[in-house]
């Protein structure tokens, strides 16, 4: 690790001021990703601003019937919060599908959004990576890209955002609350993370110095029909090859409202509103789901090692929507995917 200084910020405005006055400073929440990146010399902050004393770790009902997650609430406290379990079980399932209990006990909700990709080349200082060193090239294109993206990629970067929690947050129409040098503002979740384009070094749309203070969930939690389906190389404690957050509102067998977001396939949690619109008014049948799945993957691009993800994602969408409809085997975080099944 490089040399740095550390202070514990006492309040949000003080933290924001301190960030502005130190070039190369970084906020640190739970530290689960940042400390690791610092050990790997991928992140080299000169000053760390601790956030533990800011409060912001509560989970509270909002006047409009929603729920506000403090940015410093841990992933574990969020997943196991009674309001999350009863009203936003999709979020509960997505969080518990990710990381390990130790990491969920440390990692914060704001930090979950801020974690970096786990693309092998981003961590490997010996190889070019546009996200780590802009302008050096992308080693994943033409390299080991089994874990990389198939949607919204660019010639500069095919990295994925690794979060499970964010896939549920995207599906649930979350709003991100931030504070910065120019005051407070909100960012719609779908606008928070960006696609790589020509600037893969930028993961999100935060302005310099801005700090996430909370996540607002709207009242509608889709607690009756939902599924978080995560497919990965081992049954626990692995990043998603493909994951699907599916949420439905049904009137009999007719879909009244739908949410669909994918993880493990893009630079951000991939919510597809056009696909959601295709579901509305349709019968909740496998035919409908297959048609929608084909639409979601219509513009997908494989890079060799990860091309299997296109078919895998289609089938995962169908299965997640079926699970959400029937509410059977919803807790399917242990699904084991064998790639050989798709190689023939």
């Amino acid at each position: 690790m490089n040399s740095f200084t550390f202070t514990q910020a006492a309040a949000v405005d003080a933290a924001v001021r301190e960030k502005a006055s130190h070039e190369g400073a970084a906020y640190i929440g739970g530290g689960t990703n940042l400390v690791d990146l610092m050990k790997e010399n991928v992140a080299r902050p000169t000053h760390l601003i601790g956030l533990k004393k800011l409060g912001l770790d509560t989970i509270e009902n909002t006047p409009d019937g929603g729920l506000r997650l403090g940015a410093l609430a841990t992933n574990a406290d969020t997943a196991y919060h009674p309001e999350v379990i009863s009203r936003y079980p999709l979020l509960n399932q997505a969080i518990l599908a990710g990381a390990s209990p130790q990491l969920r006990n440390m990692a914060t909700d704001g930090g979950n959004l801020m974690q970096r990709t786990r693309c092998y080349y981003f961590y490997d200082l010996a190889t070019p990576c546009n996200k780590r060193e802009p302008g050096t090239g992308c080693s994943a294109i033409g390299g080991y890209n089994r874990v990389c993206g198939i949607l919204g990629t660019s010639d500069s970067c095919i990295a994925t955002h690794p979060s499970d929690m964010c896939v549920a947050l995207a599906a649930l129409d979350t709003t991100v609350r931030v504070s910065g040098p120019n005051g407070e503002r909100t960012i719609k979740f779908e606008d928070f993370h960006r696609l790589p384009g020509d600037h893969p070094e930028r993961d999100n749309t935060l302005e310099p110095g801005e700090l996430i203070t909370g996540l607002d969930l709207p009242a509608k939690g889709f607690a009756q029909h939902f599924s978080y389906l995560k497919l990965r190389d081992r049954t626990s404690y692995a990043f998603a090859l493909v994951s699907v957050a599916a949420a439905l509102e049904l009137d009999g067998n007719t879909i009244k409202d739908a949410r669909l977001a994918l993880g493990g396939v893009a630079h951000k949690a991939w919510r597809d509103k056009a696909a959601e619109a295709l579901l509305v008014g349709q019968p909740a049948t496998a035919d409908t789901f297959r048609r929608v799945a084909a639409k979601v993957l219509e513009n997908a691009k494989g890079y060799g090692e990860n091309t299997f993800k296109i078919e895998l994602a289609k089938r995962a969408i169908v299965r997640a929507l079926k699970q959400a409809t029937e509410m059977k085997a919803t807790v399917d975080t242990n699904a084991y995917f064998q790639p050989s099944a798709f190689n023939s």
């Binding site: 740095f4 550390f6 390990s100 209990p101 404690y237």
Partner: protein, 203 residues
């Protein structure tokens, strides 16, 4: 001109790195350290406090050998900076039991032969203690899933599971708070005593 870099007697040598004071509440005692901010909680425990029960495995939060309890919750001490833990209640394997009075989990790990080399064991036990504190793990499937952050190179998983389950079962209502220990014959120690000495191979 000669520069003397040796520190005055009784004082720490001059140091190039900025240190800062941090008071950690560990196993019921306040310990104040002057450490560089990049010292992880794990390194603070092992290198500055001689609490070497907590192990360094991967140092990247992937193996769980460094698991300790902070405010009752199990975390990876390798991914936390010591300066971030000022004011926290930290419990390590040294604080869970003593040689004279093992914790129920420590005893269960011995009784179930839940380790071979033992390197992952302090982390396994701290994780299991965290799960028991939270009350989230009740079934074997839940324990398996919620212990997945602790790797065991020797593959003692099935015995680790039975050790943890025994302590969880012993705490359920109806068990009257008693930890039901297995018959002694079940344990490896007892089994070894019954085995005849191994004779050298005959030529």
């Amino acid at each position: 001109m000669t520069h003397v870099t040796q520190a005055p007697l009784g004082m720490s040598p001059a140091t190039l790195v900025p240190t800062q004071p941090v008071t950690l509440h560990i196993n019921g005692q306040d310990r104040t350290l002057h450490i560089a901010p990049w010292t992880t909680l794990l390194d603070a425990l092992r290198e500055y406090l001689d609490l070497t029960g907590t192990k360094k495995g991967c140092d990247h939060g992937q193996c769980g050998a460094c698991t300790v309890l902070v405010d009752g919750k199990h975390i990876n001490s390798c991914l936390s900076l010591a300066v971030m833990q000022e004011g926290s209640e930290i419990q390590t394997i040294e604080g869970l039991g003593t040689e004279e009075s093992l914790s129920p989990l420590q005893q269960a790990f011995i009784d179930h032969d839940a380790f071979q080399c033992g390197y992952c064991t302090p982390g396994q036990i701290c994780s299991a203690q965290g799960l028991i504190n939270e009350g989230k793990a009740r079934t074997e499937a839940e324990v398996r899933e919620l212990m997945s952050g602790n790797l065991c190179r020797c593959g003692a998983y099935s015995n680790i599971l039975s050790a943890v389950m025994e302590v969880i079962e012993g705490q359920k209502p109806g068990a009257e708070g008693k930890i039901v220990m297995p018959e002694k014959e079940w344990s490896a120690g007892a089994a070894h005593q019954q085995m005849p000495p191994v004779a050298p191979p005959k030529k």
